[in-house]
């Protein structure tokens, strides 16, 4: 009879440790939408490049600037959607959105991500753009893995997937665009759907 009490103690300890240190309100739906934005952005960029005079991308053309703007737009929309849906979900579950666990989550996510972003801008400036897609995937994956310690859900696996895609992409950089579409578009939708059905649906 005593051992049952101890078992209960242990499970309570585990529960409290999770609740107090992990941010559990990341919304699955925002993953799906981020994936859709990425696919729409990629489609527009693809259409622009293939119908342009040259038919491929060069670094200082107008089309490159438009593609860059699309990229920023996709990132911006994804972030805004993510914040909005996550806030909404947190309110529904009576959780605080801005506590020590979400701060830690954000910090651990942003350090690798910003490092990668700056690095990519530097090498773009040196006109070495062949590995841009691979680097984006790798650094984004690292950011997810680093943040995963502070969130439940299986964000870690999405992170590993992105890293592996990025590494394969580095081997065949000419397919960079397609890997980008797969990593940021398709994978987000797959992961978001999975999370949605696992955690959000009720």
């Amino acid at each position: 009879m005593e051992s049952k009490d101890y078992l209960k103690d242990i499970s309570e300890i585990k529960d409290l440790m999770n609740k107090s240190s992990r941010f559990i309100s990341l919304s699955g739906l925002s993953g799906i939408l981020a994936g859709i934005y990425a696919l729409i952005g990629a489609t527009i960029a693809y259409w622009l490049v293939t119908t342009s005079v040259r038919g491929y991308l060069i670094l200082d053309g107008t089309i490159f600037r438009i593609c860059f703007a699309i990229l920023l737009g996709v990132a911006f929309l994804s972030i805004v959607t993510g914040i909005y849906l996550t806030t909404k979900k947190a309110k529904k579950n009576n959780e605080k959105i801005w506590d020590s666990s979400s701060k830690r989550l954000l910090f651990n996510f942003l350090v690798p991500l910003i490092t990668g972003g700056i690095y990519i801008l530097i090498i773009l400036n040196q006109e070495r753009y062949g590995h841009t897609a691979a680097l984006m995937l790798i650094f984004y994956g690292l950011a997810l893995v680093s943040a995963s310690k502070y969130s439940i859900g299986d964000i870690k696996y999405l992170g590993f997937t992105e890293i592996i895609l990025g590494l394969i992409c580095a081997l065949i950089p000419s397919y960079g665009f397609w890997f980008w579409v797969l990593g940021f578009g398709v994978m987000h939708i797959v992961y978001g759907t999975w999370m949605y059905f696992k955690y959000d649906k009720n």
């Binding site: 242990i10 300890i13 409290l16 107090s20």
Partner: protein, 97 residues
Amino acid sequence: MSIINNINKAFDHRIRLGIMSILMVNEYADFNMLKELLDVTDGNLASHTKALENVEYIKVEKQFIGRKPNTRYSTTKLGALEFKKHIDALEKLINKQ
């Protein structure tokens, strides 16, 4: 008998165990955070934190944020060690049966 000896009397209460669990995975936690997570009254929580403080398992820092007093708690090295021993002892007890 040695296993039973490691079961720590200071942790022999749901709320004390809860306080330690939270502090083990957080650098620190303030009074309100503990209160919300453990779902206890002020007085109840205060008496249990006091008990843990007296055996020097947790450290208490009082400070002001603006004008509001704020009390935050963290584990001491001794507290963390004793908590680990306690959990190991619990596990052994469960596995034995």
